[in-house]
């Protein structure tokens, strides 16, 4: 017994030692000189590998930065400070860093939009959407929270009403939630966009109204009320904001019968504010 243990230890130790020596030699022989700036750039980045920049991880983004392929403002998760730091190290001007935010374009929670079936199965939006899902509105939020699961920054939660809520103090704009949503309800918008149509239903008015009380029924009132010609248009039975033209104010939204278009409340939706709205026992 003792002998086997001894042989095992010695033979494995020997094999390991020989391999280690071989690797140590190879390491010296095949050493690659790397630009030390890569390491410093990587340290400045958030290191979350969220993919919001379009590169597979922070390291590849840093390498692209050095080659001049990526702009220093490319890191959406880092925000303005990171951009400035990166630009400082690279010795280039910081461009205009526009913060992107996730906007959930559906307000039809449990109270507003009904369910017309019972769904039993994998509790993810993608799986539910494959079956046609239980929600009466075939364009609306399914409420299984796949976007919340996709968020790496603790910036989303499901409200008691069954809709995702984005905390705008936490959202870094990486777009993971928008990619996760099987119904494309979440869109990424620069923070100077204020006016949103919170509905994706492309059915005609009466049909949309039947499945949800806050659906866009394409009545065209906001189109008429918009002070700039073409600022808001009807497209596929949905009011659509043209962000290059439309003033980002409330004026065109006052007469909306279902209150599905409104402006300028998103950035107040911080985690602390959201918690304050919840009933005490839920916090």
């Amino acid at each position: 017994m003792g002998e086997i243990v001894l042989i095992s230890v010695v033979s494995m130790g020997g094999v390991g030692g020989v391999l280690a020596a071989f690797l140590a030699f190879a390491d010296k022989r095949f050493k690659v000189e790397e630009d030390p700036r890569v390491e410093r750039l990587v340290e400045m980045l958030p290191g979350t590998n969220c993919g919001g920049c379009g590169y597979a991880g922070c390291r590849l983004f840093a390498e692209a930065l050095l080659k001049g392929e990526a702009p220093p403002t490319g890191c959406v998760a880092g925000g303005h400070d990171t951009s400035a730091g990166l630009a400082g190290l690279l010795g280039v001007e910081v461009g205009d860093h526009k913060r992107l935010l996730a906007v959930v374009l559906c307000r039809g929670g449990e109270a507003e939009a009904g369910r017309n079936a019972e769904y039993r199965g994998e509790m993810t939006c993608t799986a539910a959407d494959l079956t046609g899902a239980d929600k009466a509105c075939t364009y609306g939020c399914l409420g299984y929270g796949e976007c919340v699961d996709a968020c790496d920054f603790d910036a989303m939660t499901m409200s008691p009403n069954g809709l995702p809520v984005v905390f705008y103090d936490k959202c870094v704009g990486c777009g993971a939630c928008a990619r996760a949503c099987p119904r494309d309800i979440i869109e990424m918008h620069p923070e100077d966009h204020k006016l949103f149509v919170y509905c994706r239903n492309k059915e005609r008015g009466p049909k949309a109204r039947k499945v949800c009380s806050v659906a866009c029924i394409a009545c065209g009132l906001c189109v008429k009320d918009c002070s700039v010609e073409g600022g808001i248009a009807l497209k596929d039975n949905l009011a659509t904001v043209n962000y290059e033209l439309a003033p980002q104010t409330e004026e065109s939204t006052k007469r909306c019968p279902t209150k599905c278009i409104f402006a300028g409340i998103e950035e107040q939706n911080t985690k602390a504010n959201y918690r304050a709205t919840l009933p005490k026992e839920a916090v």
Binding site: I7, V15, L19, A20, F22, A26, D27, F30, V32, A56
Partner: protein
Amino acid sequence: MKLIMIFISASLINNFVLTYFLGICPFLGVSNKTENALNMGLATTFVMTLTAAVTWPLYTYVLVRFNVPFLEYVAFIITIAALVQFVEMYIRKSSPALYRALGIYLPLITTNCAVLGLALFMVLRDYNYLQSIIFGFATGVGFTIAMLMMSGIREELEFADVPRHFRGTSITLIIAGMMALAFMGFAGLMSG
């Protein structure tokens, strides 16, 4: 004749990927472009051949000699890990482009069960040294064939109208299953 048998058996009939379902991770991960698939296949073939060439003497002259063959798993794993490390260093030096293309999958060859499987099968089937090397090489060739076929299909798939929820991994797995079925057709090749 035995060598040819081993070669055809390991590369086609008992293809590691499509018959034993070993090495699925790189098979699904790096098969989106033919070029990357070929490079990954070649790197794996190289590692496999080297593994066979190194582990056979290790098993025969160390483990069997000192009567501790039960250490084969440990010994094979550290040998494979060291070899992959070496290949990684070498590729990084000689071809940075290939190094970037393989990315995370290169270290993953270390934990690629096909490589360990090859070393264990080799011992199990009592191959001699030359047969082991041919077996290692043939396994790599089989892996490369599977990778190349998959990447070819996946490149065409880019233009196909796949239902949205089947895109990506789902359709790849379905295709892998169909390819495995097709490879079952090789099963009778050597018996008759």
